[in-house]
Amino acid sequence: MTLQIELAGIQKYYGGYHALRGIDIAIPKGQFVALVGPSGCGKSTLLRTIAGLETITSGAIRIKGEDITRQPPRLRDIAMVFQSYALYPHMTVEKNLTYSLRLKGVSRAEARRKAEEIAAITGLGQLLDRYPRELSGGQRQRVAMGRAIIRNPKAFLFDEPLSNLDAALRVHMRAEVRKLHNSLGATSVYVTHDQIEAMTMADHVVVMRAGVIEQQGAPLDLYDRPVNRFVAGFIGSPAMNFIDGIVTETGNSVRLALPGDPTLSFAGHRPAGESVTVGLRPEHLNVVADTATGNTMRLPVSLVEQTGSMTYVVTETEPMLTVAANMSRAILTAKSLDVQIDPANVYLFDRKSEEALRSVG
């Protein structure tokens, strides 16, 4: 498999601030990669280094095997869609779309033909002679996309392009961006702080925190096998519940620091008496009729949030837990809830290092 983009040991300092700390990512041709993390984690900085808008302190960036680390943006043949779209306000949609072509010296007629072609793909048909200020948010977004597509670049970079759209349009554009990526056979790097966007769109998700890659892999790998507490809490919605616990004498169950000291068994084996943090996903907590089924606990109810299809129950415990239940009228009035969990879905993390704990012995 040929690598389209390769980042090797990228380090970036802003003065004394260490913004990127040894980033390694290998992106094969045609892959859709999402960089995700909380604000200030360096994901946008990393994207800008690929575009050439930021220089890096050390490391190498290769595109199709060619080292472009020190090249200016214009020689990199990469297109970028900005969060604010960055449409040129003094140019019509057509001029915006064809700006890069005109710089390359493409003839006027050829540029016009291309612009019409792109307008047809992105649904901008009648808008070529409008100015950006005369367009709606969604239309501007399409122009920004079109401006990237028209160049047929080696890679597409997206910097939170959907964050300025309203919720309904965002879900729609999510699918549209992904469809476009597939039809063009493009290689894309997509920055977002929204883990749902990352999970639904990407082939490969890179979770970053404080300039470091915490984990990267296929979306479901990250969901099923988070390497530490941060990734576990970041991926998945609503977020994973974390409870302190102590491994019991048997070594395959854990006593939770909750009222009544409930004990849950987990898959595998850990040293007895170990202090751990237990991670339980809200959707893995199954509401059951009674506690006879085993591996269950009873939780007092504090708050019930209905979304229609799902009901989120917040418990009156310390720490608060969230349980995702299917819609049921009985839950709305329940004072307490019996939940059961599959031992395979009990996650354990080291309480100090926050690393995920694997079974021993």
């Binding site: 040129y88 306000p89 160049r151």
Partner: protein
């Protein structure tokens, strides 16, 4: 917010009209005096409107050789604007884009230059120009001195215009395949166009009114601008006030027209709400 009660609005309007009248009175007096005869100029009490209006434009123009004065004024003003726009635009852009303590220091120094009055600077400038032999090209010398004096104002105004242009637009241009200079010229400058244009006009008008440098650096009457030419009216015994005012009116009227046109442009720029 303007109050909705009518009498309050009328009162505010009346105050505004009164203030404008006070402010514009010298201008009015200049035009009126230009039309009066010499004797009427000294009439007591003064007449608000000339009884025997006479237009002396042609006489003053020919007697004073105003053609040469105005031509020199234009040469100096255009030269000044050219230098200021050429150097000031890039400087303003740099000050708007780079964020660092040293840029703040630079901006502060630029503002400090604005504080120093030409009459203070003229002596060292005269000495320096004389050493360099620049006094042999007095108009060039005046252009350089005036440009140096007006640059800070232009830089401060245009810097503000550039800070309004989002950085991402240039970055988009860079990624689209343009160079730094190309992005500056094809994206930033067109978007800051209104600010640049208005500032340039302002500098042009100020350069037209410049007196201290021209008076000190240009000794040959053939190279002097109209501001300096005005003083030839004042002799030891007699002062031709109506002639002076005619001269001034000839000089000021085109400036006023330019200013009114520029004003329209500023207002239309403000009301349309967005950069075009």
């Amino acid at each position: 917010m303007l109050s909705s009660t009518p009498w309050k609005r009328w009162l505010l309007l009346a105050i505004a009209v009164l203030l404008v009248a006070i402010y514009l009175f010298p201008l009015y007096w200049m035009y009126v005096t230009a039309l009066k005869t010499n004797t009427e100029t000294f009439a007591n009490p003064p007449t608000l409107w000339p009884h025997h209006a006479e237009l002396k434009v042609a006489r003053v123009w020919n007697d004073m050789g105003m053609g040469s004065f105005i031509q020199n004024s234009l040469v100096i003003a255009c030269g000044t604007v050219a230098i200021v726009v050429l150097f000031g635009t890039g400087c303003a852009y740099g000050l708007a884009r780079v964020r660092s303590v040293w840029m703040d220091v630079a901006l502060f120094m630029v503002l400090m230059l604005q504080v120093l009055p030409p009459s203070l600077l003229i002596t060292p400038i005269f000495v320096a120009f004389s050493q360099l032999g620049l006094l042999s090209w007095p108009r060039t010398g005046t252009i350089l001195a005036t440009a140096a004096n007006k640059l800070p104002l232009y830089i401060v105004l245009v810097r503000a215009a550039f800070t309004q242009v989002p950085r991402e637009l240039e970055e988009a241009a860079l990624v689209d395949g343009n160079s730094r200079i190309g992005a500056f010229l094809s994206i930033s400058v067109p978007l800051a166009r209104n600010g640049i244009l208005v500032s340039a006009i302002l500098i042009f008008l100020q350069a037209l009114g410049e007196y201290v440098y021209s008076r000190s650096l240009i000794t040959d009457r053939a190279y002097q601008p109209a501001t300096v030419g005005l003083q030839f009216f004042v002799g030891p015994n007699a002062s031709d006030w109506t002639g002076i005012m005619t001269f001034a009116a000839i000089y000021v009227t085109p400036i006023l027209i330019i200013f009114v046109l520029a004003q329209r442009r500023i207002v239309s720029g403000l009301t349309s709400g967005a950069l075009k």
